[in-house]
């Protein structure tokens, strides 16, 4: 019996020595530990031993079994890691080969700018509202304090649909609708398309975009206007951006100002973009004209407000340094894909 046992051990050790694959190892395991394996046979043959020999022999056989199982487990791990090592070696790749990024679409630069502007004002508590593009004479002109004989109403500037129907020339038309439908305090911005009969060139388009802002409350003054526009400028162009007021004229604001912003190109030092002044003219603003407030049923003796109109197209072309407005409406995909 002991002889047998030693024979099994010797054969096992020999075979273990000479194998070099997981499959071989499995064969060895079956050959020794399988149902008909040598070790199993040995265990089975224990029954024929005398009761006094059995424990002694049993212990030896168990020892052998432990030894075999441990050896197999060790060998398996050894083979596995060798195999994994081999696999990893074969799987080496050239990490410098380029990969194309996932194809994502893009938003139009006008959308990007408009959204960014809306978000800035929204963070200051302004609601974003919408207004019709085909407007009545009343909302686009009359209620905005543009009397019938005002030169700005001339056919040259405005596209007409019918006698008192036109394409809005300014988002200010939405001011009136807002003031008539909302109650004070009012803080809104209205982005959108506006239309003027300008021939197409590098800086003009008959279709363009504005963002109108309106605040009406008790005690609103020019200092508040300056604050809001300054905050906008800082958010849009960085903390060093400043705004400057220059007197101007709009029929629907009084006082009216033209607002200059620190030139985003040169930071105010003076360059070609700002024609050496360090400032770029970016928007018109002012305190809402008392006649306009009155027209909307708001008492100008009690309330005041400010309004501003920002050219989204101009902000878009200056902030992305787009040299020609025509590119914006041309929609060449090579252009569009740049605005990630």
């Amino acid at each position: 019996m002991l002889e047998k046992l030693n024979g099994v051990k010797a054969r096992f050790e020999e075979r273990l020595q000479n194998l070099n694959s997981i499959a071989d190892l499995e064969d060895v395991r079956v050959a020794f530990c399988g149902k008909k394996g040598e070790l199993t046979e040995l265990l089975r043959s224990m029954g024929s031993l005398s009761p006094e020999d059995r424990p002694k022999m049993g212990q030896k056989v168990n020892e052998l079994r432990n030894l075999i199982e441990e050896a197999i487990a060790n060998k398996r791990e050894e083979l596995n890691s060798a195999q994994r090592l081999e696999q990893l070696k074969n799987e080496v790749i050239d990490v410098t080969i380029p990969a194309e990024p996932e194809v994502k679409g893009t938003l139009h630069p006008l959308s990007l700018t408009q959204e960014r502007m809306c978000e800035i004002f929204r963070s200051m508590g302004f609601d974003v509202v919408d207004g019709p593009e085909v407007e009545t004479d009343y909302y686009n002109f009359k209620a905005l304090n543009l009397p019938d004989d005002h030169p700005a109403r001339d056919m040259q500037d405005t596209f007409y649909i019918a006698e008192k129907l036109l394409l809005r020339t300014q988002t200010s038309a939405a001011q009136i609708r807002t003031m008539k439908t909302r109650s004070v305090p009012i803080r809104v911005v209205c982005p959108g398309r506006v239309y003027r009969a300008d021939e197409v060139d590098a800086t003009h388009s008959p279709v363009f975009h504005q963002l109108e802002g309106l605040v009406v409350d008790k005690g609103i003054n020019l200092c508040h206007l300056k604050y809001v526009l300054e905050e906008f400028a800082k958010e849009m162009y960085g903390n060093s951006a400043k705004v400057k007021f220059r007197p101007s004229y709009f029929p629907f604001t009084e006082p009216s100002v033209e607002v200059d912003l620190t030139c985003s190109e040169c930071g105010g030092k003076g360059c070609r973009v700002c024609k050496g002044t360090g400032w770029i003219e970016i928007l018109g603003a002012g305190l809402v004209h008392p006649n306009v407030l009155r027209e909307c049923g708001i008492d100008p003796e009690v309330y005041s407000g400010f309004a501003f109109g920002i050219g989204i197209d101009r902000i878009t072309t200056t902030s992305y340094k787009i040299p020609d407005l025509r590119l914006v409406f041309e929609n060449d995909v090579r252009f569009l894909k740049q605005f990630k």
Partner: protein, 791 residues
């Protein structure tokens, strides 16, 4: 408004450089659009000769030591022999330019340094007639009154500059030199000197022209005057210089006076030949229908009854505010004239000028608006010039016709209200100075200002205007930045706006690039699509046919963009646009059309087909929880077999399909464009993007494949629906995974294979139960679609 600095100096002392004046006027509300300098040389200054010595190596050269101002001495060598110690001469310094184009640099003359050149009259392009002594041979000897260092441009009167001020439309009073001069006076805090407007009446008029205004609504005031014994002659140089600085050509004293007064006061003037005014009657009336008149420029015009004319007893002699008639113009032998200084209503002048296609200096001023009170002053100024120039005899005849002139306006402005609007406190004495300088009579009692506004400033209507006048002069730089206070509000965005943002995000995730196209399109776009443009909103005055119709669909704009890109070499593209379409509520359009936000998606390229487009559209519907139904549609511009109308419940969500190859070709596209247009108003109405958690399945699902044979004409969509309804609650999901057509399957048959996922959320689904459901599904397909199970 172009104004010469020298002209301005007649009314206000200007002691700052031109550039500084421009800057300060800009901050006061008069932006400078350009400066034209009349200087003809640079770095040429007045110098005094201090010493003269002979050149050691030349018998005709002399070495002069010059005082060139500012305590600086320069040595210049000259060959001229008329110089003497103490002489005042022009010296061109190193790096100077002469009017004749010469560039002077320092150099050595026979070994002696010469830092420039002394100039002759000829070298400065001067002639004896313009500048005394310029014809003298040798160096120009100047009057010793000129200080050393003075710019020679100043000496010869070439130091003017013409400043082009931008005048906003609320300030028509500044479309003239006096208006600008008043603002300059305020700006520099100097006194404004009005020009003289007095004259001597020489005689009574022998021709008393009577003025009748029939249409006061279009002509609130008409002032006239007769001048006799006209002596036509050229105008003096100062007057010609003024006209030339404004770009006007001097003609003769009478014409020049009318032009000068217009430029100076802003009031257009006209002069009629009294001989041509029949019955000595001026009638201001609306023209008769088809009345004809030849204007001063020789052009014939046919007038209508909306136009205002100046007529005599028998015919029109001028178009009011625009141009005089040829029939009454001032001629070389005109013995007597009748001056007109009137106010015509601005929109009337504008409409007439547009209708006739004439734009004149006069009409542009009337269109912007002039002061009715200025008519008299302008006429007096003209008569004063007649006197001064001795161009005729002013008569005592000067009719002034008006119906009613409003009194000057008084505005009560509490200082507190001004402060509330500006947000800052401007010292009261400064406020009073500013307003007074602006010509506003102001009194301050108990912190309340009482302001009497001059008639020329009818733009000033209330406290807000007063506040603006104060701050624009005081300076906007005084405005501080102050946060808004009051109720804290949250900035909101409408649900529609947020959903539209979401769609953009989804489209970007689908790899589409957003485009932006014009809202108006051409008739041709409709023709190419083969659809009617009858029910559209059309512009009365488009920029051209290309931009004449407010679009009712986004297909044609999308196709144009696709054509442009294909033409530039792009083969694969995914594009989208969200914009409004304009649907008329009635024809002809009388009220605002319905504006609907729509989405257009356009795909083209090898990898794109109807189903990739449908997948993009489904991405949106899936997000908003919409179960859309697709049915074949019949749009003429789409492929007859590859288009569908999309509906959900009762609402039509839009269309999608491949564009008809013929239509694509007409747009210049070779590829196969696919376009979907989704109505976002309808979509938003049924959209829901609310997410609620549903329990994860605890039990395993059973997946079964099902392949059936059906007629090739059988649409598959309804079969999917049938599987779901036959399978009931246990069917979790059905996917189509194969469609196979082959003759071997039988004539007109195809094999359609589905993968069906079944699950019971309560317990493990047994195979027998799944089989039962499966059999039910098969029976339903057999019954409804004539399908047979493929073995």
């Amino acid at each position: 408004m172009k104004v010469s600095l020298n002209w301005l100096k007649k009314y206000v002392d200007i002691d700052v450089p031109c550039e500084e004046l421009c800057e300060r006027m800009t901050t006061q509300g008069f932006e400078v659009e350009g400066i034209e300098k009349s200087s003809v040389m640079d770095n040429v200054v007045v110098a005094k000769i201090l010493e003269i010595e002979k050149h050691p190596d030349s018998d005709h050269l002399q070495i002069c030591q010059l005082d060139i101002g500012g305590g600086v001495r320069e040595q210049i060598v000259t060959g001229a022999d008329n110089v003497f110690v103490g002489a005042t001469i022009p010296a061109a310094l190193h790096d100077s330019h002469l009017p004749n184009g010469m560039h002077i640099k320092k150099g050595k003359l026979r070994g002696v340094v010469s830092n420039g050149m002394m100039c002759s009259g000829e070298e400065l392009c001067l002639q004896g007639t313009d500048f005394p002594g310029a014809d003298v041979y040798g160096i120009l000897i100047l009057d010793s009154k000129w200080e050393a260092g003075t710019d020679m441009n100043t000496v010869i009167g070439a130091d003017d500059c013409v400043i082009d001020f931008s005048v906003t439309s609320n300030r028509p009073d500044c479309n003239c030199v006096l208006g600008i001069a008043r603002e300059v006076a305020v700006c520099l805090n100097k006194e404004f000197r009005a020009p003289k407007a007095d004259y001597t009446v020489k005689k009574d008029a022998s021709a008393k022209v009577n003025v009748t205004v029939e249409d006061f609504d279009l002509c609130p005031r008409y002032v006239g005057a007769t001048v006799e014994n006209i002596r036509i002659a050229p105008s003096p140089k100062w007057l010609c210089d003024c006209l030339l600085s404004a770009g006007m050509r001097p003609i003769n004293n009478i014409v020049d006076i009318t032009n000068f007064v217009m430029l100076e006061t802003g009031q257009p003037m006209h002069a009629f030949d009294v001989r041509d005014i029949s019955n000595q009657q001026i009638i201001v009336r609306r023209a008769k229908e088809n009345e004809e008149l030849t204007t001063l420029d020789g052009k014939e015009h046919k007038l209508n009854s909306e136009m205002l004319v100046i007529a005599d007893a028998s015919r029109a002699v001028g178009i009011a505010g625009i141009m005089g008639g040829e029939n009454s113009e001032v001629k070389d032998d005109t013995p007597a004239i009748f001056f007109e200084s009137a106010k015509f209503r601005r929109d009337s002048v504008r409409k007439t000028a547009r209708a006739l296609g004439i734009a004149t200096e006069a009409s542009s001023r009337f269109e912007k608006g002039i002061d009715a009170f200025g008519c008299r002053f302008a006429l007096d100024r003209a008569l004063s010039l007649i006197d001064e120039l001795n161009a005729g005899d002013v008569t005592s005849w000067s009719p002034d016709v008006f119906e009613e002139l409003c009194e000057s306006k008084t505005i009560v402005a509490p200082l507190k209200r001004i402060e509330e609007l500006l947000g800052i406190t401007v010292p009261t004495d400064i406020i009073i100075t500013i307003l007074t300088n602006l010509g506003i009579e102001v009194k301050c009692e108990n912190d309340v200002l009482t302001c009497v506004i001059p008639s020329r400033r009818d733009d000033i209507e209330g406290v807000a205007d007063i506040a603006e006048e104060i701050i624009r002069v005081y300076g906007y730089d005084h405005i501080e930045s102050r946060p808004l206070s009051g109720v804290l509000t949250r900035g909101t965005k409408s649900k529609q706006h947020l959903m539209s943002d979401k769609i953009k995000e989804l489209m970007v995730s689908c790899g589409a690039n957003e485009i932006a196209t014009y809202s108006f399109i051409s008739q041709k776009a409709y023709d190419l699509l083969g659809i009617s443009s009858d029910n559209t909103v059309k512009l009365i005055n488009p920029l051209g046919e290309d931009y004449s119709i407010m679009r009712t669909q986004l297909f044609s704009s999308m196709l144009s963009v696709m054509a442009l890109n294909e033409n530039r070499g792009a083969l694969d593209m995914r594009l989208f646009e969200i914009s409004k379409i304009f649907l008329p509520k009635q024809m002809p359009v009388t009220e605002q059309p319905e504006e609907r936000k729509v989405l257009a998606v356009g795909l083209m390229g090898k990898k794109e087909d109807f189903f990739t487009l449908k997948a993009v559209v489904e991405t949106i519907f899936a997000y908003f929880g919409i179960k859309a139904t697709y049915a074949k549609s019949e749009e003429v511009f789409m492929h007859p077999g590859r288009q569908a109308v999309i509906t959900a419940g009762n609402s039509v969500l839009g269309y999608l399909g491949e564009i008809h190859p013929d239509v694509a070709n007409k747009f210049g596209i070779v590829g196969r464009p696919l376009i979907a247009q989704i109505d976002l108003v309808n979509l938003f109405a049924i959209a829901s993007s609310k997410v609620l958690y549903s329990a994860l399945p605890k039990y395993p699902a059973i997946e079964r494949d099902l392949a059936v044979l059906v007629d090739v004409s059988q649409p598959i969509g309804p079969m999917l629906d049938a599987i779901k309804s036959a399978g009931g609650a246990l069917v979790k999901d059905v996917k189509l995974f194969d469609v196979y057509k082959s003759d071997s399957l039988g004539e007109n048959k195809m094999s359609v294979a589905f993968s069906i996922t079944m699950l019971n959320p309560e317990r493990t689904l047994k195979a027998e139960e799944a089989q039962k459901v499966f059999d039910k599904i098969v029976r339903s397909l057999e019954y409804r679609f004539g399908a047979s199970l493929r073995g």
